[in-house]
Amino acid sequence: MSGHRVAAITRRLLQQFRRDRRTLALLFVAPIVILALLGYLIRGSASVPSVGIVNEDQGPAGAAIAAALARSSGISTSAISAADGESKLKDGSLAAYIVFPSDFSQLAQSGTIAPEVHLEGSQPGTTAPVLQALQAAMVTLVAQIPGAGFHVQPQVSYLYGGQGFDTLDYFGAAFIGLIVFFLVFVVTIVSFLNERSQGTLERLMASPLRRGEIVLGYMLGFSVLALLQSVEVLVFSLAVLKVHNSGNVAVIFGIEALMAIAAVNLGIFLSMFARTEFQAVQFIPLVIVPQFLLSGILFSVSSEPKPLQALSDVLPLTYAVSGLRDVMLKGADLTWSSLQLDVGVVLAFVVVLIAAGTATLRRRIA
């Protein structure tokens, strides 16, 4: 073992990086960006789950718990009427509503504390804070009432999902979209870059081929692969993993297919900005990580700090995730306006990316 020879290799490696600013930037800037984003996302969260309170209690107990809930920092409460509860859960303005029935105080005197909790249920991140806040509020109440032997029995019901749902049911829907988008993007950007680096794109551009023909041919070729992959992912998720699905499989497949086509065109477009495969691979953390964090997969978009919500609103994955969750957890079909919006936006992204890929094709080759 020669120290000189080892040193030669080490030195050569560092010299190479000195000339590759982009890689250096990735090594030192990307971790800060990703960690800062994550920190801001979690600590900077502006909103907490909104909970409606329906107090029909004729005694003092309901009001006492409502007051305790109002002081809770984990949720924000507002008084609503019993009739509004369901519709507010459906339109997403409430994560839950809690009903204290007219005999609530009476039952509490006899030792049973039984509020009704109605949860929206499709966002696992909002269910836990609501239940925790209620638990804490009831403990406060119990401490104020002399005597022992209370039965705390909140009656919990879910609009979507519920007890039978596990974490995979919540995340499965989102991951079906993410996996297809991610893998198709990587395959496209690398193969299109090969087309550039091996010189064949130069030959194509010197042939009677039109730019649009190249992009369309690529799109169709990769879309065939991407659609087969989508079928595989879907079958495995639904049949083997038994991820919950309340909606139409064809609609899920349609959203996945749109995401795959968007990923193909994003790959073609971004390959214009990379000179080597090495640089292309660096687009993966830049393109995928922020989308993963901000598309509502882990944290619901409505709970993000406002500036990040604006960012989430321009990411295609946000709409695909929302659409897939609507279909699989809520059983949405194409008559739902929220699903129409999601599908429409994803479709618009596809069109914009096709145009962007086609427009930049000539410039880089010349």
């Binding site: 091996q198 064949t200 130069e202 030959r203 194509l204 010197a206 042939s207 009677p208 039109r210």
Partner: protein, 239 residues
């Protein structure tokens, strides 16, 4: 701009940032002629060829190819372009590559003929990534001629090709020229230059001299082309 010329380039200039690749170059190549572009690396040969297929845009002047003002996508189907690097799909077989380039030029047949011309018909099933450099070069040539172009642009086509095959390449070029194909070939190999009907010497983006090999020799007052080239190149000013 008569039909006599396959290529009629008038006063073109091109720079990439601070580097001047072409400086007021005029080039006229007759139909059926074999024209050699000579010059050292970085002289502007490749840029001039790319200009002919519309991959580079000229700052000034005009470019006409096969009677059409460039860029014109429809003319491109009559041009065969063999890039310096053997630009092929490494994961496809020889035949699949040639068939692909035939298809994008709107041609169905001619694959077998092209492969026989470059002596790769026996190896047509081989995957390109398993081929030697010379074989790739031959496959690349087959891709450039499969659609029987009227104008063939060859950017250093014989790099990595063994001497026997190189002789045969030139025999083929001559035969194609006789049947009316115009060939523009860039090279810095002087024995190839001798086989061209006319030569253009490029250096630092300028056309230094033009003429038949004999004319070039007499302009320089040299016995052989190599000396003539070195002598003429010496008069070019480094910018």
């Amino acid at each position: 701009m008569s039909d006599l010329y396959a290529v009629d380039v008038e006063g073109v200039s091109k720079s990439f940032g601070a580097v001047t690749a072409l400086d007021d170059v005029t080039l006229r190549v007759k139909r059926g002629e074999i024209y050699g572009l000579l010059g050292p690396n970085g002289a502007g040969k490749t840029t001039l060829i790319r200009l002919l297929v519309g991959l580079v845009e000229s700052r000034a002047g005009s470019v006409s190819v096969l009677g059409k003002r460039m860029p014109d996508v429809d003319v491109l189907r009559h041009i065969g372009y063999m890039t310096q690097q053997a630009a092929l799909y490494p994961g496809l077989s020889v035949e699949e590559n040639v068939r692909f380039f035939a298809a994008i030029n709107g041609v169905e047949d001619g694959v077998k003929e092209a492969l026989e011309k470059v002596e790769l018909y026996q190896r047509r099933g081989s995957v390109v990534s398993t081929l030697s450099g010379g074989m790739r070069q031959r496959c690349s040539l087959a891709c450039a001629i499969v659609h029987r172009p009227q104008l063939l642009l060859l950017d250093e086509p014989t790099v990595g090709v063994d001497p026997q095959l190189r002789v045969q390449f030139w025999e083929d070029f001559r035969r194609m020229a006789e049947s009316g194909t115009t060939i523009i070939v860039s090279s810095h190999v002087m024995d190839e230059a001798e086989r061209c009907q006319r030569l253009g010497l490029i250096q630092y983006g300028k056309m230094l001299a033009e003429g038949t090999p004999g004319e070039i020799r007499s302009i320089a007052g040299s016995q052989n082309l190599e000396d003539a080239f070195l002598k003429l190149a010496g008069t070019g000013t480094r910018s």
